[in-house]
């Protein structure tokens, strides 16, 4: 006797055995699916752990306490306290004098150079600022916490291994000895790295900061928002509320859908060919960056905005028309306010993508090494993601932690924006 499809007769035992097998495969499948979720989430965890693990130490920078004697003879030989003399004086001499005083035994030229190399060149600028702000400290001696060089910082943070042969590490045995001696006297400390948040880029890792890039990002985002939000909402309103069904409208719709999927680098090529070569707009400017990014962001605003407008029930429009409202009044007084949370959610998400975007900006020259903090939308500048790219390419070990720290800051902004979008979306989810 055979069952359907030629199977042998199904006895109770056979069914039970097969059932067992089927349940096993059910469990296996379910486990595989669960494993996929766990795997994806562990990728996320690995990514964040690696970034935070590499970057958290950058928020504290090694400082060394030195007794700086503000020698009036060296700084201001004329004694007139003339700001120009004060500005052009060599403040490195003060740092060197203080170091030599601490380590009188160091006499040879090359050793001296290594010793002076423990302190960053930026320390002299700090001293200069102090004197410029208050010339009366000339002649005094003060104990100051000065910025150490990046190599000393890396050693203190343990990123340069001490147990490898001297020739294979960037720090000599002498330098290690001096630093340890300073440390024993309580003169080495890790202090909060304010410079990282207040200064522009620098070739010296210990002096490099993200403020220049952050401000460039701010200007670029401002231009992007000013252009893409009004245009995006206008397009969405026109297409949803007014546009007649014809070929032009269809063409616009197809275009928007395709633009949303064009690789971002192609927008960079467009910006290079049109804005820079054709219109001769300034290279590396947030204005051009903003223009390029707004073209890229537009479809990402339009598509959710249209969805938000469609979600407003027709009865609202009909009721408004019934009360004698004009088409514009219906839209601006009733439909748009109701759709606004949804539109804003899309806008925030679009902007957060634009904030993390770097490929198109490489094309329009926002990769230049720029020390100055930009003051306007036509000043040369860079943006946070591109700064990350630039630092990631740098050879110095200390830039690894700077890069990770900049990533932490960027991710912080993105998470804030996305949280905002999530909260708005909650408010937008409204059943009619």
């Amino acid at each position: 006797m055979t069952g359907p499809q030629g199977h042998p007769a199904l006895t109770t035992e056979a069914v039970a055995a097969r059932l067992k097998g089927r349940y096993r495969s059910e469990r296996r499948f379910r486990l595989a699916c669960l494993a996929a979720v766990v795997l994806a989430l562990s990728f996320l965890a690995a990514l964040f752990a690696s970034i935070v693990g590499k970057g958290h130490s950058a928020f504290r920078q090694t400082h060394v306490a030195l007794d700086i004697h503000f020698d009036a003879e060296t700084i201001d030989p004329t004694g007139e306290r003339d700001p120009e003399t004060l500005a052009s004086a060599n403040y490195n001499t003060l740092v060197r004098a203080a170091l030599s005083e601490l380590f009188p035994g160091v006499t040879s030229r090359s050793e001296k150079r290594q010793l002076y190399g423990l302190i960053s060149g930026g320390a002299a600028f700090d001293l200069q600022d102090m004197v410029m702000a208050d010339p009366s400290i000339l002649g005094e001696t003060r104990r100051l916490w000065l910025l150490s060089s990046d190599d000393a910082d890396m050693l203190v943070k343990g990123h340069i291994p001490r147990d490898v042969p001297e020739a294979e590490r960037r720090v000599s045995d002498f330098e290690i000895g001096w630093l340890d001696a300073l440390d024993d006297r309580g003169r080495v400390e890790r202090r909060f790295n304010t410079r990282f948040f207040t200064s522009g880029d620098s070739r010296e890792p210990e002096m490099a900061g993200i403020w220049g890039a952050a401000k460039g990002s701010l200007y670029t985002m401002l231009v992007t928002l000013l252009l893409s939000f009004p245009l995006g909402v206008a397009t969405a309103v026109y297409l949803e509320e007014f546009a007649p069904r014809n070929r032009i409208t269809d063409l616009i719709e197809v275009n928007i859908n395709n633009l949303a999927a064009v690789p971002s680098i192609v927008f960079g090529l467009l910006g290079l060919a049109v804005f820079l070569n054709f219109f001769h707009m300034p290279r590396s400017a947030p204005l051009v960056g903003g223009l390029v990014l707004s073209l890229m962001t537009l479809p990402r605003i339009i598509i959710p905005a249209r969805a938000a407008l469609t979600a407003v029930p027709p009865s609202i429009r009909e009721a408004a028309y019934g009360l004698g409202a004009s088409p514009m009044q219906v839209i601006f007084h009733h439909v748009l306010p109701l759709a606004l949370p949804g539109i804003l959610t899309g806008t925030i998400l679009g902007m957060s993508q634009a904030l993390g975007e770097s490929a198109p900006l490489l094309m329009i020259g926002m990769v230049a090494f720029i020390v100055d903090v930009p003051q306007g939308i036509v000043d040369p500048s860079t943006v946070l993601p591109v700064q990350i790219y630039l630092w990631a390419d740098s050879a110095e070990r200390a830039f690894v932690e700077k890069t990770s720290a900049a990533i932490i800051v960027l991710l912080g902004f993105l998470i804030l924006m996305n949280l905002g979008a999530v909260i708005l979306r909650r408010r937008a989810e409204r059943s009619w």
Partner: protein, 459 residues
């Protein structure tokens, strides 16, 4: 005046114009009801007159200023500099501009460069002043014109509504202009490239080394612009990315839509979406500094020599980036499969996994395929991960442990830095861009078709 400040002033003035219009209308009559339109419409009328002409003028100014200033500066230069080839002249102007803005200059600063830079500075300053004057004049003039048109008989509402509708319509055409701009700019430069290098060589040539073209005696020399290694490298990396993203993304989507409890779903889904929100430059950094050394050391322990810029690392990390993309589309598609199909299958005694594999998955397949096509187009166009983690030299190999380069990497390396716009080296980037655009566009069109077809099936 600073551009942003000018815009702020412009907006403030327009707001004042709005109030002016409203008051003017109210001043004409004893009671608002006697007006033909609501008072706000008279305000909007003046607002439009303030904003539209001045915004158009400002946009035009910003667009044209660069080329006008350049023309003027060139006119003032001595004969011998003006007759330089376009590229060298451009370099000179660039240096002058850099000097004027206090940037790094690539040549020694002589008198001529200094005067040119000074000329830039003065022309820019004059331009800013003129721009501010023009914009403010147009704002005030617009306000005046609008103000004088307001009368008792004036139907502000009809005018304002028509104007708004026109503005909305014009705004919506920007998408078309963008596409046209992309196509034209890519085509224009690509055609110039194909005049120097035959298109067949570009598409079928096996050797890619654009650097050799820098030497003047070798411009457009044969054999250096064959893009096949780039296409192969792009395909290899995308394939690796998809082998990571498709199984993980798909299974995760199945778990989240079929098995997970509500609570797990509400936590896990946003977490997965974070992966999609992480900027690609971060993935690039992760790939180059964390994953690449790990893979290399692991390979060394197995006795394999893994390149530090292996396709495996770049593709694998790209795959991680694409997981949420695959999973969210698959999730949507799987949820859209009618519940009735599942219930019928359960009713016949199938287990949940049998239902998923034999009923839900086949039903959702077209949508999933569409989603995967979209993900492939994303992988092909992805730039930062490969720029940071993949190689620069064009190897024609299928070995994932070796370094390969991609189309996007080459575009970036060719176009970053000082450019000469008449060398095939620079122009080749646009030809590559055109290829990229055409391929991703085709993939997208097919994918959207497939997804739409599928959706219609169940609606």
């Amino acid at each position: 005046m600073n551009t942003l400040l000018l815009i702020a002033v412009l907006l403030a003035l327009s707001a004042a114009g709005f109030e002016l219009g409203r008051r003017r209308a109210l001043g004409l009559v004893g009671h608002p009801k006697e007006l033909r339109s609501l008072p706000g419409y008279y305000g909007s009328w003046i607002l439009l007159w303030c904003l539209v002409p001045s915004v158009l003028a400002l946009a035009g100014w910003i667009a044209l200023e660069g080329s006008l200033v350049d023309t003027w500066v060139i006119r003032s230069l001595p004969q011998e500099i003006r007759e330089l080839p376009e590229a060298r002249l451009g370099l000179f102007l660039n240096d002058a501009k850099n000097l004027a803005t206090g940037n790094i200059v690539s040549r020694e600063v002589d008198d001529l460069l200094q005067t040119t830079a000074d000329r830039y500075t003065s022309l820019r300053a004059a331009g800013r002043l003129a721009r501010t004057g023009l914009v403010l004049l147009l704002t005030a003039g617009g306000a005046l014109i609008g103000y004088r048109r307001i009368s008792l008989r004036f139907d502000a509402m009809a005018r304002v509504e028509t104007a708004f509708k026109t503005i909305l319509m014009i705004g919506s055409t920007i998408a078309i202009f963008t596409t046209v701009g992309i196509v034209l700019s890519l085509l224009f430069e690509a055609i110039r490239f194909f005049q120097a290098v035959p298109i067949t060589e570009f598409l079928f040539g096996l050797g890619w080394s654009p650097q050799t073209a820098l030497r003047t005696d070798q411009v457009g020399s044969s054999g250096s612009f064959g893009a096949v290694p780039l296409f192969a490298g792009t395909l290899l990396i995308s394939a690796i990315a998809m082998t990571v993203a498709v199984p993980v993304g798909l299974l995760a989507a199945i778990y989240l839509s079929e098995y997970a409890t509500r609570r797990v779903r509400t936590i896990a889904k946003p977490l997965l979406e974070i992966l999609a929100g992480v900027p690609t430059v971060v993935y690039g950094f992760f790939a180059a500094l964390t994953v690449a050394p790990l893979v290399r050391n692991f390979g060394a322990e197995l006795g394999l020599s893994v390149s530090s810029e292996s396709a495996l690392v770049a593709g694998g990390v790209m795959g991680i980036m694409i997981i949420p993309f695959v999973s969210s589309i698959s999730d949507d598609v799987i949820t859209a499969v009618p519940q009735g199909l599942r219930e019928a299958s359960y009713g016949l005694g199938a287990t949940q996994s049998e239902t998923i594999r034999r009923v839900v998955f086949p039903a959702a397949l077209p949508g999933i395929v569409g989603g995967i096509l979209l993900a492939v187009s994303r992988a092909i166009g992805e730039t930062m991960i490969v720029v940071m983690a993949a190689g620069l030299s064009a190897n024609l190999t299928a070995n994932p442990l070796e370094a390969v380069t991609t189309v996007t990497v080459q575009i970036v390396t060719l176009l970053v830095g000082d450019l000469e716009f008449d060398s095939p080296k620079t122009l080749s980037a646009f030809a590559l861009g055109l290829m990229l655009f055409v391929v991703t566009l085709t993939l997208n069109v097919i994918a959207l078709r497939v997804v739409r077809k599928y959706r219609e099936q169940y609606e």
